[in-house]
Symmetry: C2
Subunit: 242 residues, 2 copies
C-alpha cells in the first residue's frame, strides 16, 4: 500500500499548517520517500484510532503509515523510525549529534512556538472548519486563559520571534544550514514552526532582508522541487500580505 501521512488541515484541505507535520514532510523529502497526504481535522479523533494513541482525546498528527503497514506517531519518533528503516542520509544522527538536536527541538518548542503563536493564533482559528473552530477555541482558550483574539498581537509576536531567531541568524553568517552544508533534522524542526505562521498568517513575519528568510526560502524550494504543495491562507482569501 502507499505510504501515507495523516496531516492536520484547514477547512480548505490544501492548507497544511501543523509545525509537527511539516517536520515529517521535510524528513520524507530528505529521505526521498514519496507519500500520500491524508487530510485530517481536529475533530476526527476516530480516524486516528488505528494509530494506537489512547485515550481518543490524546490522538494527534503527524501519523505515518508506511508501505508495509508500520504505523508511527509523533514527529520525532517518526524521524527516528525513518533513520532506522531508511538509514541513508541520516536525519537525527547518534551520540552528541542526537543530544544536541534535542536542544534545537526545545528551542523551537519553547521559543519559536510561543512567538509564532502570538503572531497567528487567531488566524489559525480562522482557517479551520466550523467544528474545528469551536474545538480549537475552547481547548486553546482554556489553556491560555484568554480569548484567542486577545492573545494574538502581531507586533509583539514579531518582536519576540526576531529575538528568538538570534542564534539561527548568527549561525547563518557562516553556514547555509543548521546541520551544516546541507539541511537536516535541525533545520526541519525550526522550519516546521515557521511554516505554521507562514501558512496561516495574514502577514509576513520576517524582514525581507533577514538571512533567516533566505534560509526559509531555500528549504521551501526543496519542498517545491519534491512537488510538495504549500498554499497559504493569504493566497486563498486574497489577504493583503506585507
Amino acid at each position: 500500500m502507499p505510504r501515507r501521512l495523516y496531516e492536520l488541515c484547514g477547512a480548505d484541505e490544501r492548507l497544511r499548517f501543523s509545525p509537527f507535520c511539516w517536520r515529517v514532510i521535510m524528513a520524507l523529502v530528505h529521505k526521498q520517500l514519496p507519500f500520500e497526504s491524508v487530510p485530517w481535522h481536529f475533530c476526527e479523533k476516530d480516524a486516528l484510532a488505528f494509530s494506537g494513541q489512547e485515550p481518543p482525546q490524546a490522538r494527534k498528527v503527524p501519523v505515518l503509515e508506511d508501505e508495509d503497514g508500520t504505523v508511527v506517531s509523533d514527529s520525532l519518533e517518526i524521524m527516528k523510525y525513518l533513520d532506522r528503516t531508511y538509514p541513508e542520509h541520516p536525519l537525527i544522527g547518534t551520540g552528541q549529534a542526537r543530544a544536541r538536536l534535542d536542544f534545537i527541538r526545545h528551542w523551537s518548542e519553547t521559543q519559536l512556538a510561543p512567538a509564532i503563536m502570538t503572531c497567528v493564533i487567531a488566524d489559525v482559528h480562522d482557517v479551520l472548519t466550523p467544528e474545528d473552530q469551536a474545538y480549537f477555541r475552547e481547548s486553546r482558550e482554556a489553556r491560555l486563559g484568554n480569548r484567542l483574539e486577545e492573545v494574538q498581537d502581531l507586533e509583539a509576536g514579531k518582536e519576540r520571534l526576531h529575538q528568538a531567531l538570534s542564534p539561527l541568524r548568527a549561525l547563518l553568517a557562516d553556514s547555509p544550514f543548521i546541520d551544516g552544508e546541507g539541511p537536516g533534522a535541525g533545520d526541519y524542526l525550526a522550519f516546521g514552526m515557521l511554516m505554521w505562521g507562514h501558512i496561516t498568517g495574514r502577514h509576513v513575519l520576517l524582514d525581507e532582508d533577514d538571512t533567516v528568510q533566505a534560509w526559509f526560502e531555500r528549504l521551501l524550494a526543496r519542498a517545491d522541487k519534491a512537488g510538495i504543495e504549500h498554499v497559504r491562507a493569504a493566497d486563498i482569501n486574497g489577504y493583503v500580505t506585507g
Copy 2:
C-alpha cells in the same frame, strides 16, 4: 614545559570570570589535562604578543600554550585543537554534532550573553584593577552607548536570562546534560556564560529550584573535583547574596 592557560582575572587574581576562558577550563578538565593558570589583565596586551594575535588591541584570552610549545587562541579553536591532539573523549565531534554545537554556541552568545551582561556589567567593572576599570568602562560604554550603571538592571536581566534558558530547562527534564548522559562542549559553552555572572555578580541569578541551577552545580562539582578554584567576588567582599 607545563601546559599554560592565559586567563582574564580581576584585581584579586583568584577572580576568574571570562566566559570564554571557562569554556577552555572545562574542556581541559574534560580531557583530564592538567594546566597552570596564568592571570592576565585587559591592559596587558604585550603579555599576549607570543600568541600572534595582531594588532595588539585584538589580543584576547583564552590563549593556551601546550606542553610542546603549541600556542592556540580562541575558545573554539582551542577545543578543536584539543580534539585533534588528544582525541579521547571528543568535545566537539564531527558532522552534524559539530554543526549543531554551533547553534548552541550562537545561542549562548546571542541570548545568554546579553542577559547576563544586563545582570552584571557594572559588577564586572568593579572587580577589575583600576587600570582595567578605566579601559573596560571606556571600551564597553562606547560599544553600548550608555553608562555601565545604566545598562545593569538586575531584575530585567534575570527575567531575560530565565527566558533565554527555556530550551536548556526543557531539555533537562529528560537528560542530565546538553550533550547527553555526560557533559561535553555543548554544556561547557553555556556553563562558561553562566560562570561570568556567577563569579562577578552580587546576586544569585537563577532560582534555587530551577533545574538549570542543579545542572550548573553538577558542572561546578566537576571543576571542584579537578581542583579548579572558583572564588566569587561575593565571597571576597562579603556581599549579601540572594
